[in-house]
Amino acid sequence: MKLEIVIAGFGGQGIIKAGLIVGSAASLFTGLNACFVRSYGPEARGGACKAEVIISDEEIDYPKIEKPDVLVAMSQEGYEKYVEKVKEKGLIILDPDLVEPFKPGRIYKVPATRIAEKLGKKIVANVVMIGALTPLIKVLKPEDVENSLVRNVPPGTEKLNLKAFREGYEYGKISLKQKEPVRRINC
């Protein structure tokens, strides 16, 4: 098993943090191998931002991703930049309020930013997205991701983040049961 995940969005959306949480869940809690490469440079806020996470039951040699199995898109620019690279049967998870998809495929729409806003903090949209991602990629147990989340978020924000994760997780689970691709958004 080898799963290559690209998370793309704007700087400031917590894209890097999302990659770190997913990778650390796999590496430290699920007992799989994981490695994580973040985009680096002057794009700290506002610009394009990307996290690459590889999860595998074998040793990971080459740490970069050429053809992702999963693309999580939280910006139009991120979607457009990587959608063509996604494997043929790859998964595309996107925030429909931020991304207008143009390429047919296995698309799951997760209105993470809207869900986060309802929870009172737009900033946890990345965690909602991880929540939705967890049942969709199937390789991580939710409690492992929760443990990783608690380890990686600022002290005092655990409760809000766990709530955001669970909201996302439920949304992902429901999406999984629906016929792909999900066209309607119930939120």
Binding site: G23, S24, S27, L28, A34, F36, V37, R38, P63
Partner: protein, 380 residues
């Protein structure tokens, strides 16, 4: 709870693993000037050193950083700095002073693309020859080349140990990809980590601070502990005092080189992977080892007999093993993120004809596919 060795499992990046390795090795002084892509290392040391009664200083520049590192070491404290690109160039003069005064210290260079300001946020391995030859004068140096986050921890400890044993500055040659790569780091129990402590000489008159014998490198005195000790960048005799005679210059320079050259067999470190029946050998170090490993596994599935020689220490250059491996195969392939540096060392040992080279510039590592392609062409 001990704060020097943070035993446990972490999902962290290379720069941080390197900093934790340094602290576990006993480093208690860091002087540096933050520079991309090594800044995370300095940042982490700034947070961690006060927890273990260490000192972090952000200096005015890299010249001062390297000078402070030497001073701290002479005060009896294991010391280090970290830098990249232009910062490494600025440190060269004082690295020479560390060599001449036989000062144990560690210099981490998280390599980026050059020359000059080059590519601050991208990776490269363009400073490998600079690590060897960057300062003026004849000398030998030790350079370790990690290729995983775990090795950033392990080989940093090794770097400190080697610098204490041989009283020589040791360079940790990382690169941007490794510095910012996040993967699992296991920090063992303190008693499982082998640490070489600073050897102290007996306090007495007439002790030879700089005995010019590569087989018996003298213990190092610290200032402020009652020793009468003199250290200078000038050519000096075995008492440490300046002596400009050709005899002393000959003895000193030979010694500075020979203490590394003659101990090379003990210093070098490498891994032979799937080389037993190999017809093609890839020789590489640092991040490209990962591309090479991936390519070797894929090529083996196609029935191509290819193996990998991973160099964990490039200086002193591990001539013996490179010679042995190159004699056993038909073709040697060198991978580097530069336009041919260690390549020349391999060619010197293996001969010009049988060595193929795959250079890489800019952001990316060698793609396993392109390494595989070259290996397939070698087979034909």
């Amino acid at each position: 709870m001990r704060r020097d060795v943070l035993t446990g499992e972490y999902f962290t990046e290379g720069d941080i693993a390197c900093a934790e390795g340094a602290i576990a090795a006993g480093c208690r002084f860091f002087a540096g000037y933050p520079i991309t892509p090594s800044s995370e290392l300095a940042e982490h040391m700034a947070a961690r050193l006060p927890e273990v009664d260490g000192v972090f200083i952000q200096m005015e520049d890299e010249l001062g950083s390297m000078a402070a590192v030497i001073g701290a070491s002479w005060a009896g404290v294991k010391s280090m700095t970290a830098t990249s690109g232009p910062g490494f160039s600025l440190m060269q003069e004082n690295i020479g002073l560390a060599i001449m005064t036989e000062t144990p210290c560690v210099i981490v260079n998280i390599m980026r693309g050059g020359p000059s300001t080059g590519q601050p946020t991208k990776s490269g391995q363009q400073d490998v020859m600079q690590a060897k030859w960057g300062s003026h004068g004849d000398y030998e140096i030790i350079a370790v080349c990690p290729s995983t986050v775990q090795e950033m921890f392990d080989l940093t400890i090794e770097a400190f140990n080697l610098s204490e044993i041989y009283r020589v500055p040791v360079i940790v040659l990382g690169d941007e990809i490794l510095g910012h790569l996040t993967e699992k780091l296991v920090i063992p129990q303190p008693e499982e980590i082998e640490i070489v402590e600073r050897r102290k000489p007996p306090i007495k008159e007439g002790y030879s601070w700089f005995k010019f014998n590569p087989a018996s490198i003298p213990a190092m005195a610290s200032f402020g502990e009652g020793f009468k000790v003199y250290a200078t960048g000038l050519t000096h005799d075995e008492t440490g005092h300046p002596d400009m005679s050709p005899e002393t210059q000959t003895k000193l320079v030979k010694y500075l080189c020979d203490k590394v050259r003659k101990n090379a067999d003990r210093i070098v470190k490498y891994k032979e992977i799937m080389l037993d029946d190999a017809e093609i050998a890839i020789i590489t170090y640092g991040s490209p080892v990962r591309s090479a490993l991936s390519a070797v596994k894929r090529a083996r599935k196609e029935g191509i007999k290819v193996g990998l020689l991973k160099l964990s220490i490039v200086w002193p250059f591990p001539e013996k093993i490179v010679k042995k491996v190159s004699e056993e195969v038909d073709t040697v392939v060198v991978l580097e993120m530069n336009y041919g540096q260690i390549l020349r060392e391999v060619q010197r040992v293996a001969g010009l004809e049988r060595v193929k080279f795959l250079p890489k510039f800019g952001e990316d590592l060698h793609k396993p596919g392109e390494v595989l392609e070259l290996v397939r062409r070698c087979k034909k």
